[in-house]
């Protein structure tokens, strides 16, 4: 109601009686007299709707709220306390209840709601497979994990592998656990530096989904993988391919690489003294595989690295360590 309307009501009350007018407009007499007193004191201006006191001084800034929301998006399963700890890591000190209030304001106070909220995010990942026939060397990578079973009767042993579909250039590392950290290590220590040097224009990264090796939080995995890739100037689309959906070419490539490279250490598993030794042996086999062992292509038979430089017309440039034994 604006001041003119209020003034009209006051006039009407003056003429027709306060009680009657108040009944007509659904007002209390208290309010009527409050208006009247203000009108007598300050005139028309006194009837101006009073401004609320503005934002409270301790209101959480929008940037902070945004940070909380983006954390919730990546960690929907976390409650206020965990989020509070994560915020501390980035130098933001909020109380647990402050985090909870932000959750409540955005209707995210239950875990289920947060899960739904996190899924709404447009994730640049597909379950379909890119057109495999049009791909060039270096454009499409395949990632898969091979399990060797327990090593020395203790930890299970896994090979994490990334192989380029067209050139068959590959890298693998051995790890004793299934975790994002291992994948990150393979990507940033081996795959990306080589891809940088070989001038790969990587557009697709395919993940073979294995029901036994499910990633607990896929959206977190995707965000983190994209962060690593983008930091190195790569921005491929991520694809997740289920067991029944894999074209023969992909299966064949995986089998081929497993046979020529990954299986080579199986006979050594029972006798190997330590993991370092195994890692070194596998590393040497992979080097030989990429640099020397001929594989078959439409153009004939040649080592993967030779194929890549021939098909892209580029000189083969590798980092120094690619030729040497390297602990990890």
């Amino acid at each position: 109601m604006d001041k003119k309307q209020k003034q009209a009501i006051l006039m009407e009350g003056h003429v027709h009686g306060v009680t009657k007018t108040c009944e007509k407009y659904g007002l209390s007499r208290t309010l009527y007299y409050r208006w009247l007193h203000r009108y007598q004191r300050q005139g028309l201006e006194g009837l101006q709707a009073m401004k609320k006191g503005g934002d409270p001084s301790n209101k959480t800034p929008k940037e902070t709220e945004d940070k909380v929301l983006s954390l919730l998006r990546t960690h929907p399963a976390y409650g206020p306390r965990e989020i509070k700890y994560l915020l501390e890591e980035i130098g933001l000190h909020l109380s647990e209840s402050c985090v909870y209030n932000i959750m409540k304001r955005h209707d995210l106070s239950t875990r289920a709601k947060r899960m739904r909220f996190a899924k709404k995010k447009p994730i640049q990942s597909l379950s379909s497979i890119p057109d495999l026939d049009t791909l060039e060397s270096g454009e499409c990578w395949l990632f898969f994990i091979t399990s060797y079973g327990p090593f020395q009767g203790k930890h299970p042993l896994y090979a994490y592998s990334i192989i380029d579909l067209k050139s068959k250039i590959a890298c693998s590392r051995l790890y004793e656990e299934l975790s994002m950290n291992c994948f990150e290590d393979l990507l940033s220590a081996a795959a990306l530096p080589v891809a940088q040097n070989l001038n790969f224009q990587t557009r697709h990264l395919l993940f073979f989904e294995d029901p036994h090796l499910q990633c607990k939080n896929k959206s977190l995995f995707i965000t983190q993988t994209q962060r690593i890739l983008q930091a190195s100037g790569f921005d491929p689309t991520l694809h997740f391919v289920g067991e029944g959906e894999r074209p023969e070419v992909l299966e064949d490539l995986k089998t081929f690489y497993t046979k020529t490279c990954l299986s080579s250490i199986i006979p050594l598993l029972p006798t190997a003294d330590n993991l370092t030794e195994l890692k070194l042996l596998l590393q040497r086999n992979i080097r030989r595989y990429n640099l020397e062992k001929p594989a078959s292509y439409h153009q004939g038979s040649m080592p993967p690295l030779t194929y890549h430089s021939q098909s892209t017309g580029s000189t083969m440039i590798l980092p120094l360590w690619a030729y040497l034994d390297r602990d990890y």
Binding site: S188, A189, L192, P193, Q196, N197, N199, S232, G233, L291, T315, I317, L318, P319, L320, W321, Y323, L324, R326, D327
Partner: protein
């Protein structure tokens, strides 16, 4: 006890911080209006661009970063190498790597002969390592080791392998460092920049004098007198961490060193550039050559890429132009120059000034004197190593 420290760079501030932790009274003299020396970070929008010391190989620095609660990260960095035609090349070719493999064990064995205690110390006896690195490696038939070291020698600020005395080069590129380079180990970055280290150290130091140049340092009956342009004070000990003009130190041996000591003029040149997909790049053919770009580092975030190029020489319009051209010839689109800055780095003695026992005599003298030299004046100029040697030196002396 009251100790004066001359120079508010990393070593000076670290020494002041460590001494105050021991409860020793300290005064730092800095001739500039700000501390930090070669540790400096430029905040450019959200990017923390290092204009001096950028990274560290060794894990030693972590100890300091943890106590000062400074966040850091370890990252793999990718390096490209360009030849004289600005074409991408390998640091070493496959065949050369095979030679390198053969050279590595010989290098390690030789290293043990020259540096039986390893290289965790300040400079010592030069023996026959006063000749330039290249000549020395030729003599002992380790040419590939030379190839690996050359671009990094230049990037560290030592200059050319043809001129740098072999001792300085080998002191820095010990087998451990060499292995780290060859393996492409992770490098340690301070998240908020090296300036953050300086800032945190300063917060823990109670007495720093800014923009005050020290005119005289005079040993006097068990004390040391320091004259500045404005006042005079007496101290029990003086630690010198920076090159001083001749005749400031009234001590024959130190003064002789200060007169002979040379530095390399070095330039940092920062550009905002267009390309996103570029990495640290070394101009292999330029390694150690004056007035040519040596290498560049990249700092990037969404929509912004900052390139930091390094070259030997003195700032001039021509040099900045030629650096820009070299960057453009390697396929990078330059938007504009952000900063050009002159440094003088790597205090060292030229071969003709080098006596085989120079630093040994210096260390012996130091034991008797109330004045001592520390930091990059007497030790390899890597931040992790400076931390180690400074800590060890103070442990021994105080």
């Amino acid at each position: 006890m009251h100790v004066a420290i001359i120079g508010g760079g990393f070593t000076g501030l670290l020494a002041a911080y460590l001494l105050e932790q021991k409860g020793i009274l300290v005064t730092v003299y800095e001739k500039e209006t700000h501390v930090g020396g070669h540790c400096r970070t430029l905040a450019y929008q959200n990017l923390m661009v290092e204009i001096g010391t950028a990274v560290s190989f060794g894990p030693q620095l972590k100890e300091l970063l943890l106590t000062l609660e400074i966040p850091y990260s370890e990252r793999f960095t990718y390096r490209n190498f360009l030849d004289e035609h600005y074409h991408k090349v390998e640091h070493l070719s496959h065949d050369e790597v095979l030679l390198l493999m053969e050279e590595l064990p010989r290098f390690e064995a030789l290293y043990k002969v020259y540096f039986p205690q390893g290289a965790h110390d300040t400079y010592g006896r030069f023996q026959d390592l006063t000749i330039p690195l290249e000549a020395f490696l030729e003599k002992v038939k380790l040419p590939m080791i030379g190839q690996v070291i050359a671009p990094h020698l230049s990037a560290y600020g030592f200059g050319s392998a043809k001129e740098t005395p072999a001792y300085y080069a080998l002191h820095t590129f010990d087998p451990r460092t060499l292995q780290a380079i060859i393996r492409g180990d992770k490098l340690l970055f301070v998240d908020d920049g090296m300036s953050q280290v300086i800032h945190k150290l300063s917060q823990n130091i109670s007495d720093v004098r800014y923009a005050i140049e020290v005119k005289n340092i005079v040993p006097l009956q068990g004390k040391v007198r320091i004259d500045t342009s404005y006042d005079t004070a007496f101290y029990d000990q003086v630690l010198i961490t920076t090159k001083l003009p001749k005749d400031v130190i009234k001590d024959t041996l130190y003064n002789e060193l200060m007169k002979k000591i040379d530095t390399n003029p070095y330039i940092t040149c920062i550009y905002e550039v267009e390309n996103k997909n570029i990495v640290t790049t070394y101009y292999k053919a330029n390694a150690g050559k004056k007035e040519t770009i040596q290498f560049f580092n990249i700092y990037k975030e969404k929509g912004k890429t900052i390139l930091v190029a390094y070259a030997y020489g003195l700032l001039s319009k021509d040099l900045i132009e030629s650096i820009r051209k070299d960057i453009e010839r390697s396929g990078v689109e330059v938007r504009h120059l952000v900063m050009a800055k002159q440094w003088y780095i790597f205090p060292h003695l030229k071969p003709w000034n080098l006596r085989e026992d120079f630093y040994v005599a210096l260390r012996a003298h130091q034991k008797e004197s109330q004045i001592s030299l520390m930091g990059s004046l007497v030790s390899k100029p890597s931040i992790a190593h400076l931390y180690e040697t400074t800590k060890a030196f103070l442990e021994e002396r105080f």
